[in-house]
Point group: C2
Chain length 110, copies 2
DNA sequence: TAATGCACTTACTTAAAAGTAAGGGGATGA
DNA sequence: TCATCCCCTTACTTTTAAGTAAGTGCATTA
């Protein structure tokens, strides 16, 4: 059965659209991070939302979760090869968003 | 006072992120549209949400609302010059989203 | 033995987005 | 005059996303 496919722009918005997802990815672009490193880097995120967003991103194939079987075990999150394909998209989005923020700033200052 | 500016990727997600906004813009890229034309083109949108999203897009400067003082008056929505700067961004987003949909389809078919 | 760190999960509550249904004010048309 | 079209608005309900707080299991350290 071929089910109705959503609009591709909405697909992307869905993938990036959680409150903390852009922030999480921003940090993972820089380097791999552990759960509690992300907690510290994003002070306002709750453990629940961090775990949920990481699971979402993992399910979409954007983020890899690696359990290092050391003692104690450590869990590392990283941007997958596929996830890296988001970087140029994010750059274009970012450039537009920056300009839009400036524009709004100017108009509110006038 | 310089208030905290949000992450530019979030800014863009906020601008495009309403349930019907990508669809509305898609139709306005093609040509100017009147309120009830949009209603017909997007059968599942409610009048309330259509009006609200159009107001949001207008407030952000993406969409122009023109009242033609004919009898009866007609109201036309169009993509503003500024709104057109979203087109290349949407294309990049769209390309990624299409690929992602294909990827998910393949994985669910396997 | 007690306290702390890590990587979470669960249950419950609140807030934000969207849906539903009705109405309104000004036309035109039959 | 009554119905209909256009472009919405308002009030209320439902759904979805996010926040809060507590707890779990295993391990190390003091």
């Amino acid at each position: 059965m071929i089910h109705q496919r959503e609009c591709p722009v909405e697909t992307l918005i869905h993938v990036l659209g959680g409150k903390w997802k852009p922030m999480i990815l921003w940090h993972l672009i820089e380097s791999n991070k552990r759960f509690n490193e992300l907690e510290k880097l994003i002070p306002d995120v709750s453990q629940k939302m961090l775990a949920q967003h990481l699971r979402d991103l993992e399910r979409e194939g954007i983020v890899d979760r690696t359990i290092h079987p050391t003692i104690p075990p450590k869990v590392e999150y990283s941007l997958s090869e596929y996830g890296k394909t988001l970087i140029p998209v994010a750059e274009v989005m970012c450039a537009w968003g920056e300009n839009h923020n400036k524009r709004k700033y100017k108009e509110s200052a006038s």
